[in-house]
Symmetry: C2
Subunit: 679 residues, 2 copies
């Protein structure tokens, strides 16, 4: 089957950006060099970033006025394509143009744009995004760095009060960064107005730290060796007033603070909401790395043979083993599902941000919160999928998968931190859960440490699951299914209904338990500490978030299949969608059995159906990875570079030798079930 | 609670070896150096291996006559302790003294011992174990390297017929090895007698490859950078007749082949069975790495704080979060369970090998097969547990876990290949399954590629699960439980019975399906290819193996608790055992629900019981890792080296600043459920 139509379905709305990247991003510096030192990796990646800047392909997200494309979706897509090359380069680019440049663009005002954006885009001004501190990663509202205004000098005093307040894990800091967007508590006229951002020089033109600025190096990491992560400490550093990125909060020369958004928490989350693009990019980048790993593992599994069937001479290709298929194919199906979910997210993000930033429309708060929640959920799904799938691919490629030259070690080590940065996955699941529990009506970031649990009870009336893509299509499919029993498992409506039921039930259960705990909290006889009230149901709450993510991903896949016009591609995608849905349900069989949505007999049928889908999809494994259309020179996996015909030549030699002197261990007693030790 | 008694329970029969290691292995070269190059790592590890040899602590497994201890259990234990230091050193030592030295010792005869053992033990003769080929890892009976005898010269011709026959991934080959134990097909008088081993010089005294020997380098790997893995190719290399390691097969000067074991497959597996110690060592080493990772993660989780409860100023220690406990504690419980299972395995292996090698007893074939099966199962369990747990620990330590200086990156990268070498885990599970299916009666390594499936039907009569440790105790506990319903889940007998039931049921189901397929194979109307006959049930067969492993691990834990005399330690171990048993059952709730061994109501109770066990064990987390008794200087994790009191000092400073200018975001609206992007 021609993978071109499949590829078209996967490439989506910004296919032209993907095509351009495939055709034009071929700087050898963009690929990992196996065995290089950390210093060499950093140099190479900095060089590659500079080359990338010169290619003009880094301006997607910036305003046209400064040479950009004002194309948020294109910006994310270009990062996703970069993620097929050295992930250190993808992160370096993301820091420079996504986080640093993005913060100047979206939190700064005109004077900042005019002064700095062009140099940021050209990489003449390398910079950092200095938010995280050693002591505070997830709870950013509790940052300890302070920035205190002095009207006498009309400057701020930026200060790191102790070591845990040190900015840490900051990309572009240890070597290259000349300026940093620094997040700190804004204090003026004796009042703390919460976290804001300033543009602060950290190195002079000679590369030396500015006065009062101490720059440290995080040293070698598990991966991403080409990214110079470092630490920044500020010792009463003077920052001019106009270096406050003042789009959402301003300080007058006399120190008076003003903001168009009165509520501090709302202001803080509004500021940060503009930076959602980074989280969307991380999810999409994880997906690219996953696709590359699967590409390598599927091709390896087509070539690698071990153990012969009785009576056969030629050994069996490992992709023919059921258990090997069970490793690769459901992961491939989930990758396809996430591709469509990500495409939908990027599209939504693009439309929302374009409306606000390009057309000056008012922010639709609820749409913004849903977008952030969706971005969080898909960041979680794609990064955990990446780390687990790449691990599985390494093991599926045996010893060869352990050699750096076959790419998988870098993919694993580099993506490992993706489950932590841009939001720790566990904490992000809570963000998603909060959105579900409050129906996104809470725009203040509340459920404030669980104290105001009554707020939850008020906020949630009837649980109506918001359908996402192709609402009409989904509704039609689901309504066509009368119940959940006796419906064939390959009925799309049944699959959707199962995931909807699970999400609704989990959500209702979480709400019920939280309400119960909230009344218990104030019980005179059995008071429950507020912490315990929430902690007690934390696993249930996170489970709810995960069921939600599974459902919206399936809906996106269903929509993606529906939009596919080529009949052969559509048929294949249909089967892959079946595999995604059924393997997702199978993975949580316990829940469905426990809640009566599967009988024991149906549970057995489910496993058998998954196995028969594996058989059905086995012949299409190569087509499914071909459709990722990863250019051969991006793969940097020696195992894929074998000359054609070599395996056959060696097999012929083996047969000849066997004819000469016999097979050794007599035929019929070779077994796949014994593995000698020591190898 | 004083961890000393707990430690005693964990240290087991070779506690003296562990104590000696803790007290005396403090060569700084033994620890990873973060940021070193591959060349530096190799040099340091070779140096450390030499120092280790000089300490005299490498001879545990060798005969007393040559300076060894003839202590197989001590040998494995010493490797387990080494695995707390640089895992490259553990692998280097395992290759030199376990595989290379072990092969010379157990496959060679007196003249080989007298000529080489002392130099091997002193490291004056570094050597390799050259079994694996590029084309054949798991199916070692299909090695392609040949070794053909020529009576005219009384020498063998060792030859690599094509590139896939190249010895690959051979530790100690790329730099240091002077000789190799090479496995190849023995051909004499026109007949191939199967795989045998020869001792072959590969480098001369100046370090140059011997004539006809080509040595390649596998290059940088994902981890284990201190191990010089390489490739060996032989171009008609002349090997003197007396270099055949001829304990189990001999070639006379005229080329006549003789062996005390007539059947070739039996001979091959007997040879390799002697090397089971390597597989046992890998499992135990994985366990050590796991313990170190958990030690770091638990201590980190006791210090790291994020998000405050409502009304509180001090943030919450992350080990107090339910979901964080759910990550760490079940893994800790499983680590304890595996500790006792490994201890039992090592003890059995020691007794079996001592009886055979020291006291000259006949090999009890069934005991040997059970030992090999047990070694395979625990290798699988401990290595997958290591890789998954270390991954979880890295994520649980956030960004700090990603810095090499905090040890976790090395632990993850180094242990990653443990699921592949010494037997690919998936293939090993099949070995375990085969033992179950045939009741270990098959001593010939058959179920030969599934052809002789009738053999299975003959071999398996009634499925009686062999109980392992403390048979009387286990029987008593299980018999005390009348059924499976309505029995309290904290009843040990119920837990054991559940796992026994699952194993028995899975095994019976696998046999039933294999028999059914075997009749289908020869059906004239619906013939099933022999490959499909087995492939069709491969997932069920592997599942059966996993249920068996879970059961025998629980039995070992139960026995271990029973042997613990100190009351406080025993009580704590009891609770940990409960957590192991119940979290194991919970992880496979689907199976138990599907087969009626849990009702939906009981399934809910199960989760609630696990959660309450987490609460109960939370205060003991530090004690549980203290009991691993890992010396502080072995940990090499910067995050553990903080000065006491520093966190308190910084918290006091924070409180002071808060008093001065307010908390920033008003109290009561800080939430743990929002995570800003970009960090």
């Amino acid at each position: 089957m021609d993978p071109a139509h499949l590829q078209e379905a996967l490439d989506g709305r910004w296919a032209h950006v993907r095509r351009d990247a495939r055709e034009n991003l071929h700087d050898p510096d963009m690929l990992p060099v196996y065995g290089e030192s950390m210093a060499e990796a950093r140099e190479r990646v900095t060089r590659a970033a500079r080359t990338l800047a010169q290619s003009g392909r880094v301006g997607f997200g910036f305003p046209k006025e400064f040479g950009g494309e004002a194309d948020a979706g294109g910006s994310v897509t270009s990062i996703e394509m970069l993620a097929f090359t050295d992930l250190s380069l993808m992160v370096k680019a993301g820091v420079q143009w996504g986080l640093f440049g993005g913060a100047v663009q979206l939190l700064g005002t005109r004077r900042h744009h005019e002064t700095y954006l062009r140099d940021i885009m050209s990489f003449d001004l390398p910079g950092c995004f200095a938010m995280t501190e050693t002591g505070h990663g997830s709870d950013v509202q509790q940052l300890r760095t302070t920035c205190t205004y002095d009207p006498a000098t009309q400057t701020f005093d930026l200060h790191t009060p102790h070591e845990a307040a040190r900015k840490d894990y900051i990309g572009n800091a240890a070597e290259d960064g000349r300026m940093a967007v620094v997040f700190a508590q804004l204090i003026t006229q004796g009042t703390n107005h919460g976290v804001h951002a300033w543009l602060v020089p950290i190195r002079d033109e000679d590369g030396n730290p500015m006065p009062g600025v101490t720059i440290g190096d995080d040293g070698p990491k598990a991966g991403l060796l080409g990214v110079d992560n470092g630490r920044l400490t500020f010792d009463h550093v003077t920052v001019p007033r106009d270096m406050l990125l003042d789009r959402y909060g301003q300080v007058a020369s006399d120190g008076t603070y003003t903001s168009s958004i009165e509520n501090e928490t709302r202001r803080f989350f509004t500021m940060l909401g503009t930076l959602v693009r980074g989280r969307v990019s991380v999810g999409g980048s994880a997906a690219s790395a996953t696709k590359l790993a699967l590409d390598i593992a599927v091709r390896y599994g087509n070539a690698r043979r071990q153990f012969a069937a009785p009576g056969e001479e030629r050994e069996i290709v490992i992709n023919d083993y059921l258990v090997h298929q069970r490793k690769l194919l459901p992961a491939l199906a989930r990758t396809y599902a996430l591709n469509f979910a990500q495409a939908e997210l990027v599209s939504t993000m693009h439309d929302v941000q374009t409306a606000v930033h390009e057309h000056g429309q008012e922010i639709d708060e609820q749409a913004q919160r849903e977008l952030e929640s969706r971005a969080a959920g898909l960041k979680v799904a794609q990064t955990w999928h990446a780390t687990q799938t790449i691990q599985m691919c390494r093991e599926a490629c045996g010893g060869a998968g352990y050699l750096q030259e076959n790419r998988l070690p870098h993919l694993k080590a580099d993506t490992d931190v993706f489950t932590t940065f841009e939001g720790d996955n566990t904490v992000l699941l809570q963000l998603v859960a909060k959105g579900l529990l409050t129906g996104y009506r809470d725009t203040f970031g509340s459920l404030d440490g669980w104290g105001r649990i009554g707020f939850v009870a008020d906020m949630v009336r009837e649980t109506v699951l918001e359908r996402t893509a192709a609402r009409a299509l989904i509704a039609r499919l689901v309504d066509a299914v009368p119940g959940l029993e006796d419906v064939p498992m390959l009925e799309r409506g049944w699959q959707l209904k199962m995931l909807e039921f699970r999400e609704k039930h989990a959500l209702e259960g979480a709400i019920r338990r939280l309400r119960k705990n909230s009344t218990t909290v104030s019980s005179p006889t059995h008071p429950m500490a507020p912490f315990d009230m929430f902690n007690d149901v934390q696993d249930h709450v996170l489970k709810t978030a995960q069921t939600h993510i599974d459902r919206i991903v399936l809906e996106a896949f269903v929509d993606g299949v529906d939009r596919t016009t080529d009949p052969a591609a559509r048929t294949l995608l249909d089967a892959v969608c079946d595999l995604y849905a059924l393997s997702t349900i199978e993975a949580d069989k316990a829940w469905f059995l426990e809640h009566g949505q599967l009988t024991p007999a149906r549970a057995k049928t489910l496993t058998a159906t998954v196995n028969s889908l594996l058989k059905q999809l086995r012949p299409h494994m190569t087509t499914l990875v071909d459709a990722f259309a990863i250019p051969a020179d991006w793969k940097a996996a020696a195992i894929l570079e074998e000359e054609p015909g070599r395996q056959e030549a060696m097999a012929a030699r083996d047969a000849e030798l066997r004819r000469q002197h016999g097979a050794g261990t007599p035929e019929g007693t070779a077994t796949d079930l014994d593995v000698p030790p020591g190898q």
